[in-house]
Amino acid sequence: MNSLYKIISRSVLMTSLIALLLLLMNFFFTLTWLQEHPQDYPMHYRAISDNLILENQQYHLTPEGMSQLQQEFDWAMLLDANGSIIWSWQLPESLHHDYTLNEVAAFSRWYLQDYPVTIWTREDGLLVLGNMQGSYWKYVLTAPTASMEQLPSYFRSFALLNAVTALLLALLFGVWLYNKLKPISKSITALSVRQPVHLPEKGITGDLNRKLNNASAMLIRQQQKLHQRDETRTRWISGVSHDIRTPLSIVMGYASQLEEDDSLTDQQHQQAVIIRQQSERIKALISDLNLASKLEYGAHPLSLIRFSPAVLIRKTAVAFLNQYQDNSYPIEVEISAEAEATQIVADELLLQRVFENLIGNSIRHNPNGCTIFIDARIVEQQYQITIRDDGKGFPDTVLHNLRTNTSLQQHQDHGLGLTIVQQIIKAHNGIVHFSNISQGGCLVGIQLPCTLD
């Protein structure tokens, strides 16, 4: 609607400006023309008449009068009161006769045998000045006085009508143009959000439409290619991680058997434990890498169910507590009554992964132990979960990366586990925030919408 208004108002404005411009231009040219051509018009008949003097019963034209006459007229004659020629100069042959009253009345207004003439009344007669046939155009205007008096108001109405017609036409033209351009504007909007467009390639905008169609087709092809590449990459990562699993099973299997072998020395036994633990770490890394690449390229659809995050938090915390029975990593869970009663719609396995990654991260980076605090509450209809520890906190580079880069490719540093946390929360339309606490330790704040639209 806004653009319609804009186009129409501009169109009207432009039309008005053009009309004004044309009017001014015409006025200016007329004025210039009138200024440049006045000497062409014979108007010194009075001066000529004054120079025609009666001397000794003979009419005589002074030299100034003659030069003036030659300049402006081709012939001249003086008629007395009876219509007889009493003086003439270069009078055409056919005009050499007396003139009746009727003839004088006729030529005084129009032409004399098609010769344009100008007359001047003198005391002793009528001076007739003539030009060659076809050299001047004479017109006599006669109109009722009443009509002439109404002329200004007619003129105003006429101007108003002109203005209204121009505006109306401009408006119509604006609407027409808008209608023609609307599909194009719509298509460009669609293209900007990667929607395919197809416009009819006919009419005034046909060429433009064809180009838009081409652009759309190209965009779709590119998108498909990009998607294909992402898919290939995801499949490749998935394939590699799949292939690593079998050899890793063998390593883990034998290490774990060695671990239980009583004939080994303590040192060897310890080494077997380390092999097994590191293999498990590789296992976790592979699955992180796989998940991260799938989340990055949107190849991991969320399987949404309604569940209680409180139950999931307890379950995950307890799994870690049972694993670290020496109480080196105590976990304190605080869940508000409101949060306890709230269920959300989310991917439960992925959310469990979030909690596991965060708790696991705290444990892995604080080998001397730390206390982990998990808080859950409802704040402004958001399920808010805070996971913090009193350990050594995130390294600055990791924090920087987490805050600036959201894309997997840009991640120079490690911290795949935290990237996955970011990806999962983002996929749930949630917000995650990583920071360090001034007293020491890290803090991860998560906000999830209670209802996922």
Binding site: H242, D243, R245, T246, L248, S249, I250, V251, M252, G253, Y254, S256, Q257, R276, S279, E280, K283, S287, N290, S303, S308, A310, V311, R314, K315, A317, V318, L321, N322, Q325, I331, E332, V333, E334, I335, E340, A341, L349
Partner: protein, 239 residues
Amino acid sequence: MQQLYTLKILLVDDNKELLQMIYNILIQAGFQNVTTASSCAQARQIFLRQPPDAAVLDIMLPDGDGFSLLQELQAQRDIPVLFLSAKDQDADRLQGLGLGADDYITKPFLPKELILRLTAVLRRTYRPILQEPKTEEETALGETIIHWGSGTITTANGQQTLTAKEFALLKKLWENQGNIVTTDSLCQAVWHDDAFGYENTLMVHIRRLREKIEPDPSHPQYLLTVRGLGYKLVRKASP
């Protein structure tokens, strides 16, 4: 009548080293009749000659996939099947379980996990025909003896009967002894529902249980509270 460890197990995997390792693990765990196959064709042959009582199948095999092999084998004889696969996608797991597999283990795995899951599946399937030594019928928590068979306990004060709920709670805690059990799992075990709305009732039952098994119920030594999370049953009295 058979023993659990005399049941015939068929292993199918195309990786020879892995096959060998799993074979070793099962033999070490005490299984006596383990056969291996590295392709669908081999598996079919063995299935005809010496029908196994259970099978552990890989999904990606050189001459077919485990899913269709499962359907083929189960059409002939209904035996429990475990999938052991490098595919960790939920979709694969669900497909495997949906086809009637009894469990789905993703590689890499710990031998212990495989043995535990396999024996659990075997016990479930062959319980009626297995001659197994009865599971521990009595448990001692310090002075207190729990008789699982009769659902009673004996303390210095004499014998007491456990209510059904108390018994279910104690059993769940005992099965996970030494580990924390969330309030949610306990409620699930007793009321088949999440903890929400049952916390107070659970607390009442725990208190009654403590009155029966603890020498000093207000200072519990065996049934411990883990604040905010759940409860834990320990065998040795904690100070």
